[in-house]
Subunit: 341 residues, 2 copies
DNA sequence: CTTGCATTGAGGTAGGTACCTCAATTATAA
DNA sequence: TTATAATTGAGGTACCTACCTCAATGCAAG
């Protein structure tokens, strides 16, 4: 038995196809009584729109855009790569995916860009931008204008009614702490915490989660004040050397930004990483290699491929007026060891 | 610019629609020269079949069937639940999903069941069955007959040309070992290893991976011989009590079958689980609660929802003669702590 | 009763592909 | 050269929904 069609529905409701169409697509001039008849028939026949037919009819592709930072770390490259790859695969599913990279240091420009987007060009966007009021407002306005928006892996504060793809950074920090704590195996000492910057919301949340779990479960460990590299190599060398010198009891390092390369490279020169417990975020070619060579003990990761596909699935679902499958879109905090790469 | 259609393709190749159709659908009576012209045109125009149209045309749903064990643990319930839920969601994507549960203790019956499946009823099946030659042969024959098959999370030996969904159990065992080892924090002692049975291929592989990693990285730890509960409570109590009694230095427990409930419940009575390092497999309501209450330290899991969706995506792709996205279908070995649930 | 309006029905179109038939052309063999 | 086979083209139908127009009904107020 094939699925019920609009024709079956019309027969079941005892009305014409035209009326069924009017009800299904919320057209005017239908009496309440007729509407009820059709809705009953929908229940009875278990009618569901044939998505294939709908998609065939709208012979315009769904167009989505990822709005990402202009410059960033290796993780960003992974993301770009995933977006491109997934976009290619979805080509034959009526989905076009583009990427735009903006200078996130200029929130006004970002907000302006967002405000300039038109529903006529685009069904939806996934925005990865650091927290800032103008951007937040622009996102809310986009949503009101009917352009679907996903807050993507970002340091944004979660907005009501707007889909979010990414992990809970508080939990991610906690997880890192648990690994660091357990891997230290009861030894006492200090933990170096390195970030690119502590301005970003995600860094702050991770640090918070980290400190909380260390305090609660690992009394012998003392997290040191965050070191901020600002992505600057000489600066990183200086502050890391300085902290190492003044804290002979450092037994672990937590790199909480997604760019682990700079701090790890600096530490390679100054200390024996294999004797330190090192936990970093995000899987990149560099961090993966460091994990295999035992210089990093664990990576806390959010899978960029999952994130990209999840954002696209959500945007697609919203565009088709479907509800996304919440369970599927929950990005996991992955713990990577050299064994489960 | 809308996507290229068969009409565009015909124009580009300088042939008729009929000929394009013959080439695209491998119909006979086309000269090599013409075939080449059309294929060139496919390259040039970037033609891709419009899936919506194809799916519209075949107005029969895709029918897939999960073949699962008749009786099993909590993880099986999770799987059943996921299959049902995903099936519901895919209803409006022309996909019908069923479940059949068979008594896996009778391999001949399973093989017979598989042999009886017809392409006219079904596009494909996902089979979760323990290793056995008759079943393996039946799967291979199904595949030859054009019925798509996925080896699903199973203790099956991986067959050539047949898709597999699930984790590498050797790596899963290794991962468990790394966690156990690190969480023991340099203490010396023995590790209890509990299984439901060591007959299953997955148990064997996990044990192998576990032993290998313990031997290589944790010299102070000694994994004890596997205890097999056979799902029998009195037996479990007896053998666990016996091993506890004869090995006072047990500091860790590794439960390598997907049913952690029985051994954990037994251990709750006989020892202080919070002082032992306990690692188990698979997330279930029970194991999750034990993780939160700190009676289990870590869970090595393969996400049942991912697995189900992955199997269905693969079956769907095969049915549409597409290649599945390999990267997406790789089921991760998840490490769950109470922090990243 | 008529005018006007709200409601319903009938019937058509488009969208891209698969599959079919029948005629027309070309190539190959006898 | 003719007979036969292989190849190609032309044109149609179906799949299901969205959207359109035009006619026909029903009902109410004037």
């Amino acid at each position: 038995m094939a699925a019920a069609t609009t024709k079956d529905l019309a027969a079941a409701a005892g009305v014409s196809l035209a009326t069924v169409d009017r009800v299904l697509n919320n057209r005017p001039n239908v009496s309440e009584k007729t509407k009820a008849k059709v809705k009953d028939a929908i229940e009875k026949t278990g009618f569901v729109r044939n998505l294939a037919a709908v998609n065939l009819l709208r012979n315009r592709p769904y167009r989505f855009r990822f709005i990402l930072p202009a410059n960033g770390d290796e993780y960003l490259s992974e993301l770009l790569c995933e977006v491109e790859h997934t976009g290619k695969v979805l080509k034959n599913d009526m989905t076009e995916v583009e990427t735009v990279q903006l200078d996130m240091a200029d929130p006004i420009a970002v907000a302006n860009y967002l405000s300039g987007l038109e529903t006529s060009d685009l069904e939806g966007v996934a925005v990865m931008a650091p927290e800032s009021p103008p951007v937040r407002d622009a996102i809310a306005r986009l949503h009101e204008r009917g352009l679907h928006v996903v807050q993507f892996l970002s340091g944004q504060e979660k907005l009501d009614d707007i889909d979010f793809v990414g992990v809970n950074n508080l939990a991610a920090g906690s997880t890192a702490a648990k690994i660091v704590g357990k891997f230290c195996g009861g030894r006492k000492g200090s933990i170096m915490v390195v970030a690119e910057t502590m301005q970003a919301m995600d860094s702050i949340e991770r640090r918070l989660g980290f400190d909380r779990t260390i305090a609660r479960s690992f009394a012998g460990l003392r997290p040191l004040p965050s070191l901020e590299t600002y992505g600057n190599a000489p600066r990183a060398e200086k502050i890391i050397a300085n902290q190492l010198q003044h804290n002979a009891d450092i037994i672990a390092v937590y790199v909480l930004s997604s760019e682990a390369r700079l701090p790890i490279k600096v530490l390679q020169k100054m200390s024996n990483l294999k004797e330190l417990v090192v936990v970093a975020h995000e899987r990149t070619p560099f961090s993966e290699a460091a994990l295999v060579s035992d210089e990093i003990d664990a990576i806390i990761a959010q899978n960029p491929g999952h994130a990209v596909r999840s954002a696209l699935r959500i945007l697609r679902a919203r565009s088709e007026a479907r509800e996304p499958i919440a369970a599927q879109e929950n990005i996991r905090i992955e713990i990577l060891l050299s064994e489960n790469l």
